[in-house]
């Protein structure tokens, strides 16, 4: 199958766009509990998430494209996470950081939602209680891989 010159150029543009997207993933500060402290350590100089492109963590969901759910999700907090996810603009990705966000963790009880993926679609799960900052950095690189391979994230990528 031959590619027309126009398609070749568009293909290249797509790659450039994905490279740009993956190199500047800005997370939303969704720090809930202990994992949030490890997320802060990831921003700190020893682990330094800025070298992967996440230069700033935005507090407003309108300005962020990655939601790192770091911590246990209580019953009251569930609707708020959904609302914040809806407020984020496409394309958007979600990392479920830690055992509590991934599956309820050590808290198999009435108060904790057993996995944030019951509320929002998750792209990468990070195990650990809390995961070391290296784990979160690896998750960010996985997200970058997903972006470069064409997963645009958000509603459009989910059939």
């Amino acid at each position: 199958m031959e590619m027309m010159p126009g398609e070749f150029l568009l293909g290249k543009l797509d790659d450039v766009a994905r490279w740009a997207q993956s190199s500047s993933v800005w997370p939303l500060t969704m720090g809930l509990a202990c994992c949030a402290i490890e997320m802060m350590s990831v921003q700190a100089p020893q682990y330094d998430i800025a070298r992967l492109g996440s230069e700033v963590f935005r507090a407003s969901p309108r300005q962020a494209d990655l939601m790192i759910v770091s911590g246990r999700v209580a019953q009251k907090m569930g609707p708020i996470i959904k609302r914040l996810y809806d407020q984020m603009a496409d394309p958007k990705w979600v990392i479920s950081m830690g055992a509590c966000a991934s599956s309820g963790g050590v808290f198999d009880n009435y108060a904790i939602i057993q996995g944030v993926d019951t509320i929002v679609p998750v792209d990468v799960y990070v195990p650990g209680c809390p995961p070391t900052p290296d784990g979160l950095l690896y998750a960010i690189t996985l997200i970058q891989q997903q972006i470069r391979q064409g997963g645009r994230g958000g509603i459009l990528a989910r059939a």
Partner: protein, 409 residues
């Protein structure tokens, strides 16, 4: 998430006459500077707050209920996750309370007590580092965050080396600690003790005499001693108002009465005073750590020698029938704690952390009621915020240093 239809009048607060021309604003629970999931609903007239009410519960985890369904040693894992900046402290308070009920407090080996004090003070330093870094970010002093978290990494390295994890090491046990410090640990500890004064000087130089920092924290959130008692403030917030109540001095535990340290106190009661008190506390914590370091030179057991509580050494399980049986019983059923109730308090970086622990003779805790210092410290905000600007609320929350894992449990 929605502001309540009418904010009920806060209890115990002198209600000012509202100007009538107010707007109700909700800060949080998603907000960069509420230190976690807190919702502050304020009624403002312009920028001045006329009334403030807080909604908590966004991190309610049911830890107390979970602990009632786990063995005594297992319950420690969930309890450690309450105040997540001070996991070793939560564990310490819990094991001390359980040891009181077991009646073995006197039999805990001195080396175990020393290691417990070491871990607790290291955690105090790392907790104050997080407080200062985030307090700085809230006020715009972002450079402070970078320097301070670097110090915190050095401290966490030591916690990880002995305990196995940076946060929630689950290193303490009812009866002692889980394993001695590894080889080479004391040398690394010496390195930290040697370079800490220089790092503290750096930390102080960043903020202590910074005119912007002083402008934003001096005379903000003043708490008089009477109010501090009424609102049950404890910890640095109480000591910054002049009342030198420190659980380590008033009700010593773990041999704190054998260490030489001061309790920093200020009388101004504002955010700057709380800032200075916590910085001084970091210095005092390192002073205690140097004294512990000397005691760690003498070897000794690190776990009580009671086979009903302490699991046998791994090497003996293959050789001794009794060891095998004890190990099996401890793992499958846990041990039982005699019935009774106890109130055990420790000095956490936030104040008096205490557990009211009830046992009914079973192999699980019957009730672990937590006295969370952050929850009581935070309530004072209802009064402190009145008459101040919204920007000051951020300063006040930071200076009270709440941790929501503890407030909501």
């Amino acid at each position: 998430m929605k502001a309540p239809a009418a904010i009920p009048p806060p209890m115990g607060v002198d209600v000012v006459e509202t100007t009538g021309n107010t707007m109700t604003l909700s800060l949080g629970p998603q907000h960069p500077s509420t230190h976690g999931v807190l919702q502050v609903v304020v009624e403002v007239s312009g920028e001045t707050i006329e009334r403030a009410e807080m909604e908590i519960g966004y991190l309610h985890t049911g830890i107390e209920k979970s602990a009632e369904n786990l063995f005594w040693t297992q319950a420690q894992t969930v309890i450690e996750r309450m105040d997540y900046l001070n996991p070793v402290g939560n564990a310490l308070c819990y094991v001390l309370a359980a040891e009181q009920l077991l009646g073995v407090t006197e039999r805990i080996p001195p080396r175990a007590q020393a290691i417990r004090v070491l871990m607790t003070e290291l955690t105090r330093i790392s907790s104050h580092c997080v407080w200062l870094g985030t307090h700085g970010i809230d006020l715009g002093a972002i450079s402070a965050f970078w320097y301070i978290f670097d110090i915190r990494e050095n401290v966490l390295d030591l916690v990880e080396l002995a305990g196995g994890a940076r946060m929630h090491p689950n290193y303490l046990r009812i009866g002692g600690v889980n394993g001695d410090v590894p080889e080479g640990y004391l040398a690394k500890l010496d390195e930290l003790i040697a370079k800490f004064p220089q790092r503290m000087r750096e930390m102080r130089s960043l903020l202590q005499n910074n005119p912007i920092w002083r402008d934003r924290t001096i005379d903000v959130g003043v708490v008089t001693p009477e109010d501090a008692i009424r609102w049950s403030l404890t910890g640095p917030a109480l000591r910054a108002s002049g009342i030198a109540y420190d659980v380590r001095k008033a009700f010593p535990y773990c041999g704190y009465d054998t260490y030489d340290f001061d309790v920093p106190v200020r009388t101004e009661g504002d955010a700057y005073a709380r800032f200075l008190v916590r910085l001084d506390e970091m210095d005092q914590a390192m002073r205690i750590i140097s004294q512990v370091r000397k005691r760690l030179d003498t070897p000794g057991p690190i776990m009580i020698d009671d086979p009903k509580i302490a699991p046998p050494a791994k090497e003996t399980i293959a050789l001794s029938m009794e060891a095998l049986i004890h190990h099996f019983k401890l793992v499958s059923e846990g041990f039982r704690v005699p019935p009774g109730d106890v109130y055990q308090a420790i000095e956490s970086p936030r104040g008096e952390l205490a557990y009211y622990l009830v046992s009914n003779g079973n192999n699980r805790p019957y009730r672990v009621r937590t006295r969370p210092p952050s929850m009581y410290n935070l309530q004072a905000l209802k009064q402190m915020a009145i008459g101040n600007l919204i920007a000051d609320v951020v300063v006040m929350i930071g200076s009270l240093d709440p941790v929501f894992g503890e407030v909501d449990r």
